[in-house]
């Protein structure tokens, strides 16, 4: 074995690799970084739009008109309580429909369904999730309302908050089901086995062990569902029954207006807005409130989901 008397001439530049490749590398890193920043840009753009324009509207309008006893933008009445109560009704009714059905479906799929049954039923729920909300709105107005809601609640109008709430409920069933099911199936099997080992029946294990263990995930599912129900537009515009404006109405069996429906009605008639010049501007105020509510709810839901992920 002979020792080499010449060390190979390797400089730092050789080890660093081809300069063109390194330049590409840096460039691509920037491209990806810029793409990721788009999320920040969009968020800032949304907030800036609604805040600035809502501010301009508030500067123009008399504050007392925000608490008028109805929502008639063309007459300068921007009664926020009217549309707020509408949204509240829709959300409450939708959760009453989607909460039990969605949660029960999730428990069945996660705890009871055999794999073969699951393979059929789960995609079917996903199909329901994929139905566009405009079609659900059409279906609610023309079928759910006359053939279901009006038969049970005979005083209900064809287009009513009640009918629209049920429609929104149908829309968010898959959402509640899929998030809850994720939470339930990520509960470790060891908990189920321990409970069964103690002699508990399946129903006891499910209700007293699995569901409590998945609770933060289930809570997240309900919060996301509430947020979705608040922001749902087409179903409430088509099946809510109110066109243009609405007087304050506390009875959900009557036609009513939600925040989103008020926006949709205002915008789709915006070309013909006469009279009060700032009527269209009120869109942005409602949008701002809507954004605040949903963004806040989503942040809270996010925390619940993360807490759940940390536990298991």
């Amino acid at each position: 074995m002979t020792t080499t008397d010449r060390a190979p001439e390797v400089t730092l530049a050789d080890l660093a690799g081809d300069r063109r490749r390194r330049a590409t590398e840096r460039r691509m890193r920037w491209v990806f970084l810029v793409a990721a920043s788009s999320a920040i840009v969009i968020t800032v753009a949304i907030i800036a739009t609604v805040v600035v324009e809502a501010g301009r509207f508030l500067a123009d309008v008399e504050l007392s008109s925000l608490f008028a006893d109805g929502w008639f933008p063309r007459e300068g009445k921007f009664g926020l309580p009217t549309i707020f109560v509408g949204t509240l009704w829709i959300t409450a009714i939708a959760i009453c429909v989607a909460g039990p059905i969605g949660l029960a479906s999730a428990v069945y799929l996660s705890e009871y369904a055999r794999p073969g049954v699951r393979r059929v039923l789960k995609p079917a729920l996903e199909i329901l999730a994929g139905i566009p909300s405009v079609i659900v709105g059409f279906f609610t107005l023309n079928f759910i309302s006359p053939e279901l809601v009006q038969r049970i609640f005979t005083s209900a109008e064809r287009g009513s908050l009640l009918a629209a709430g049920v429609g929104v409920g149908v829309l968010i069933i898959p959402l509640v089901a899929s998030i809850s099911e994720d939470a339930l199936s990520s509960v470790p099997d060891s908990l189920r086995e321990a409970s069964t080992g103690l002699g508990a029946r399946k129903v006891t294990t499910t209700l007293r062990v699995v569901v409590p263990a998945a609770l933060s995930g289930i809570v997240a599912a309900f919060i996301v569902a509430v947020s979705r129900a608040i922001g749902e537009t087409l179903v409430v515009t088509l099946a809510g029954g109110a066109a243009g404006g609405a007087a304050f109405e506390a009875d959900p069996a009557r036609a009513g207006l939600t925040m989103t429906a008020a926006m949709a009605n205002l915008a789709s008639g915006s070309d013909q807005v006469t009279g009060v010049g700032n009527a269209v501007q009120s869109l942005y105020l409602v949008g701002f409130l809507l954004f605040l509510m949903t963004f806040g709810l989503n942040l809270i839901a996010d925390r619940f989901v993360r807490r759940f992920r940390q536990e298991y």
Binding site: G17, T24, M28, R29, A35, A36, S37, S38, A39, I40, I42, T43, A45, I46, E53, I101, A104, Y108, Y112, A124, L125, L128, G130, P132, S133, V134, I135, F138, N142, F143, V170, A194, S195, L198, G199, A200, R201, V203, T204, T206, L207, V209, P212, G231, L234, L238, T260, M263, A264, A267, S268, L283, Y284, G287, F291, T294, N298, A301, D302, E311
Partner: protein, 315 residues
Amino acid sequence: MSTVLTPPDEAIDAEVARAVETGRTLDARGLAFQGALLLALLAALAVLVWLLYSVVDGAIPVFQDRSVGDFLSGKLSGSPSRFGVSQGIRGSIGILVFVGIIAFPLGVAAAVYLEEYATDNLFSRTVNVLVRNLAGVPAVVYGLLGLFVFKGLLGDLTGGSSLMSAGLTMAILVLPVVVITAAEAIRAVPQPLREAGYGLGATQWEVIRTQVLPYAAPGILTGTVLSFARALGEAAPLLIIGTATGLLTSSGGSVLDQLQGNYTALPMLVYVATKRPAEEWLSLASASALVLLVVLLVANSAAILARNHFEKRRS
């Protein structure tokens, strides 16, 4: 931090004692519970079946009275006998082109950054939180963004209530969905694949281009189709930005003219037809809804085929 799970000892003890005492092994309450759960799930699916049946059943008269081709080639019109969906199909395709050109590359690139480049710092955490929250922002609010930015500020470029404004808004709307699903797909790429690439001397971008993205392609594709489906069916932002509702004269002219021109889209046709009170519009709304559902079905099937193709190449 952990929730304290107290084992329901007493309840279980009581159950065991009762079972021993009575010698009964049949759990009637358990069966009832299971039945109730199944019933709830079946109720949800029954609504789905009812919906699909109603749409198809309602659409039949239109296709019987007029040929299918006549309805598909008909235009937006105030007269029920001439109303058709051709312009809606064109508009929806136009919107999808915007989504494909803007949201898809931008979303995948953002996902690559979040999964491959980002370290755990303030920037990446912020982007992560914002993306998840943007996915939950109601579609009408995106409509306001489109109304203010694309119809207002950039009105000269976009032409106001135009296909371009709608397409850009919809691209922004679905961007978070693309990012989230693409990031999930990229996260699922096995680490050894990357390490092998680095071991052979590839740079990070080369590993991403030749290893990570091809492996993640099926998952990314699924996410893209989800976002396309969302863009196809979403009507709320279009309602805010404004579309043609009464009559739409097909604008000829250059591509730019068409992009800046008035438009309509399939979900808007369902909306317009549902809003009209007369009975004959009910079947037209059903028929438009059916066309929209069929388009969604075709898009989804195409995606499944494409995904299988990619997955086969992967193995």
